[in-house]
Symmetry: none
Subunit: 128 residues, 4 copies
């Protein structure tokens, strides 16, 4: 079950997006699988359906899922040719750069950073 923190600084719909992406990565949600409907997920998480709707729309924009009128929303394949755009990469790198300034400022050693990444990578990718 998805974990949401209403007191998180990140808006709820972004938390949902992140969670679903994570489940796809981890193979909990498989390509072609049907996602819960907007209304049922909203009920399960006891939040506003509009918020779920916004998350699903954004996931469709990012080509993670596909919504079919009258049928539901489904996980898309991660197509290898859907390789990241130059823009995506630039954005990611920029975000990393900003994070590193903070980390360096707080004197986190490089070794620790590598360790954190390895821990997380194992969880997300387990075998990919």
């Amino acid at each position: 079950m998805m974990h949401l923190d209403p007191n998180h600084p990140k808006p709820i719909y972004e938390q949902i997006i992140l969670n679903i992406k994570k489940e796809v990565l981890q193979g909990i949600l498989l390509p072609g699988e049907k996602l819960p409907s907007v209304r049922t997920l909203a009920k399960d998480l006891s939040i506003n359906p509009n918020t779920i709707s916004k998350a699903y729309k954004e996931l469709e924009n990012q080509e993670v899922i596909i919504s079919v009128k009258g049928k539901g929303s489904f996980v898309r394949n991660i197509e290898p040719e859907n390789t990241r755009s130059v823009q995506d990469e630039k954005k990611l790198k920029q975000q990393l750069r900003e994070w590193l300034v903070e980390a360096h400022y707080l004197q986190v050693p490089l070794k620790t950073i590598y360790q954190w990444i390895d821990e997380e990578a194992q969880e997300n990718l387990h075998g990919n």
Copy 2:
């Protein structure tokens, strides 16, 4: 000279904070050195002095600089005893976790991530 993008998702005052932190890390701004005054920096960047003020105040909260009424704002020493708190570390790790989900989703290989970090580390820490 500092580069600001008013259309960036990050608010201007945070861009300023990041820029100054980076300059401190890189040794462009040295401990004790005087920062440009609120008003002159505002004029140089053609933004409102209050925005600069907000950035400087936050930098003072984070103990990066110190502002003295009537005198100006100055870079503080990075005291080794000012080690990061448990909460700081938790926050950093959480941010990293979210970034990694994105990166994995876009299929950035671990190797590339390490490379990006090394590049940036060299720029920020040059030998530390």
Copy 3:
């Protein structure tokens, strides 16, 4: 109701911060409880919303409350792990030192000081 004195040497936004901290300590505001919105509190106290906003932001920095866009501001739990840092303690002690010089100069006996502290402690901590 909160009491504010515009002619106080302490800025208004700091008076608000102190008041809210006190109410949290005294259990008037409970963890998770919603604070009045920036706008309504501003109207109630007949001051500018930006001033409230400044106070709330600082309270969020100090991890007393948490503000969520579109939802409101809420009292956080005081986590026992969020122990004070060395710097916090240093700052507190320095402030106390300066206060004591004044008190000694005005010949307040130690006994009276202890009495004042006990009175206040009872109000703030009521049994903790």
Copy 4:
């Protein structure tokens, strides 16, 4: 020799006031003793004479010293009948109250507070 910290949030003239009061309390400066002249003290501390002047004027207002034209400034007796006014006491108590809110919030135990006071009292009063 007096210790001044130009990077302290407290204005320099207040630091001077506090220092002189402390020296009077500790018996380093005795009643009737001549203080250094504005100009020589300014030179010794390498700060602006106006700042010293402001401090001395305030000390005269608070009846700690007395300035005689053409002769210099001198430490006054702490006269027992110069007992603190009701106003002074109210102000002191108010300041203490605010400090205690912070201390309680940061979970400093009462015992620790007493300890801090005792340490400081010994330094300031040594035998009074």
